[in-house]
Symmetry: C2
């Protein structure tokens, strides 16, 4: 039994991004090596979707297979570990849903409390379910995500709570690991990377990660980064905050991004750009990703594919290149969007075998 214990302890210790990327993350001897086995997500080859987008080679980094179903877990495991190291009793965040789910899960795993502030009536069903079941104190705020974030900032200062929104530098550090994984899987950085942009943290993290990958010899080049926003919530495209952000892509329904300058530099310095796409284009891409490749992402994730397709069609990027699109979260977070406008026929009789024949 002792031998088995030794093996399992090592297995446990060696899972997740804190262990796997320990030489690249700001850890100390006292940082608890938390893990829900985050990271190591698939980079799926997508030949049929590539044809639909109009590029020769396309990969989808499916972050929906992180433990709570979104990329947020990469930064949250580090942010919560640092909070525990600093003696925090509770973590606090504002969220459109994914951050809340991740904060609540890692707080539960670490044995500390979590308080999450959600904009009332604007959080997808699956994300609310996650925060509730992981045992967070769920508080809805009469306002947008931007209002909830302002309240979280105030409360964290006033009551000395560990704020785990992406203004927490540990979040960005943890999220750099996805860039390393892409370089390791492809053997280099891809020429083009497209990703959805809401609060500005993730594009900042990818650009930082790719620059470090270049420094460390994990890559020989840097990608041009295409940051994609929804038309109704496109402050980076307009160059100014949006007062009443609105889009079906709830995860990027953000008008006042918390990370502004570094996000703009990521697009500019990489030779990339920001681009806005309509909700219609987002939902078209959302269905195409599932139907062509068998991957179900949340609507915000599909913005990356919609934006890349629009950029290719507009001649805004050289299409003859290998491209990677980031799918930030699982479609199961928001099942209502998938079944909206779909008619399921009336139930058939249990003996009606001919009905099946007529479908073929």
């Amino acid at each position: 039994m002792t031998e088995v214990h030794a093996v399992t302890t090592r297995m446990q210790r060696e899972s997740g991004i804190l262990y796997h990327f320990r030489d690249h993350l700001p850890l100390t001897d006292r940082t608890p090596m938390l893990s829900l086995h985050e990271g190591g997500t698939p980079l799926v080859h997508a030949p049929r979707l590539a044809a639909w987008v109009g590029v020769p080679e396309l990969y989808l980094k499916y972050e929906g297979l992180n433990p709570t179903g979104s990329f947020k877990d990469r930064g949250m495991v580090l942010a919560v570990a640092r909070a525990v190291e600093d003696g925090a009793r509770a973590v606090l965040c504002a969220s459109t849903g994914n951050t809340a789910a991740s904060a609540a899960a890692y707080a539960a795993h670490a044995g500390i409390r979590s308080i999450v502030l959600l904009p009332a009536g604007r959080v997808a069903a699956g994300k609310l379910a996650q925060a509730v079941i992981y045992g967070a104190d769920v508080v809805t705020v009469d306002g947008s995500f931007d209002h909830a974030l302002a309240l979280a900032l105030n409360a964290s200062r006033k009551f000395d709570l560990a704020l785990v929104n992406s203004v927490n530098p540990a979040r960005i550090e943890g999220q750099t690991t996805a860039a390393y994984e892409i370089c390791d899987a492809l053997g280099d950085a891809p020429p083009v990377l497209a990703l959805p942009v809401g609060n500005g943290g993730n594009i900042t993290a990818y650009w930082l990660g790719f620059r470090r990958a270049l420094e460390h010899g994990r890559a020989t080049r840097l990608p041009r980064i295409l940051g994609v926003q929804a038309e109704g919530a496109a402050p980076f495209v307009h160059g100014a905050p949006v007062e009443h952000p609105d889009t079906v892509a709830t995860a990027i329904r953000i008008g006042r991004p918390a990370t502004w300058e570094p996000a703009i530099r990521a697009a500019q310095d990489s030779g990339g750009a920001f681009r806005a796409v309509s909700d219609e284009a987002i939902l078209e891409a959302y269905r195409a990703i599932a139907a062509h490749e068998g991957i179900f992402c949340e609507p915000a994730s599909a913005a990356s594919v919609a934006g890349l397709r629009a950029a290719v069609r507009a001649g805004a990027i050289d299409a003859a290149q290998q491209c990677v699109c980031i799918l930030t979260g699982s479609g199961l977070k928001d099942p209502d969007t998938a079944v909206a406008n779909v008619e399921i026929g009336a139930p058939i009789d249990m003996n009606d075998v001919e009905y099946i024949g007529r479908l073929i």
Copy 2:
């Protein structure tokens, strides 16, 4: 560019269970090596939940991180690959939801059609959303899962469609891979394995997998297998079919299991047993798994933990042993169950920082 292509092609080829377990699966030279990067799911160390259950060491095999959010992907990738190899234009299945989602995803990835038969009004929201978005022909049947399965069997014979329910031997073969992964992670088979039992296929696959692991030297012993059913749908516990199966755990709401004898032998030959738990106990375990360990599984999955806890309390198993519980699917499949009976307070004012202070 050529070099990058070579690397990416290898990366793609080497992902997923068909490649990883190619020496242990019934593949031919013509079997397409389909992959959505299924398998390789986390075995999470769960010390706080272990205390709640009453065992010294507990691991959770979290199958919810498979590509479509359930263990079904392990068998489905092989079943669909074999269907493609045999020239099938479409796959067909009856399902409580998880099988349909998996069949639809792999059919989409392989570029063939899928037809899924669901019992009307008895499928969790996320699973219906998946089947729809992956592009399956979704047919609801006026009856239970058992009626839908009987119809699928008839239709597959009459119209020469590839039936991908667990009566398809490829499904069981693919699902054996989870047992190999547990042995590889722990260094041996665990003394006790608990899992939910519905249609009887998965317990059959685990027992087959562990016996092969012993033959191949991946393990030095075999686990005792505890098969857990819901009280309202417990044909294996009663030793007879249940006419009107009913439980909150929709994934195991099955009264006439398609795999009967091999499932009974798995429990008996392993020195294990079947056990029924109430819906109340299932939901209690469902909340405990999330709150203690930060893992959100679907209600049916929690039956494994509820059953193990009940067996320990009843003195039915020696509690002083390392145990593994199988969590078969993601909680995001069924968000409605998580938020049922939870009251979220009215939205607070966006400036009410004192409200946060009172929570602490």
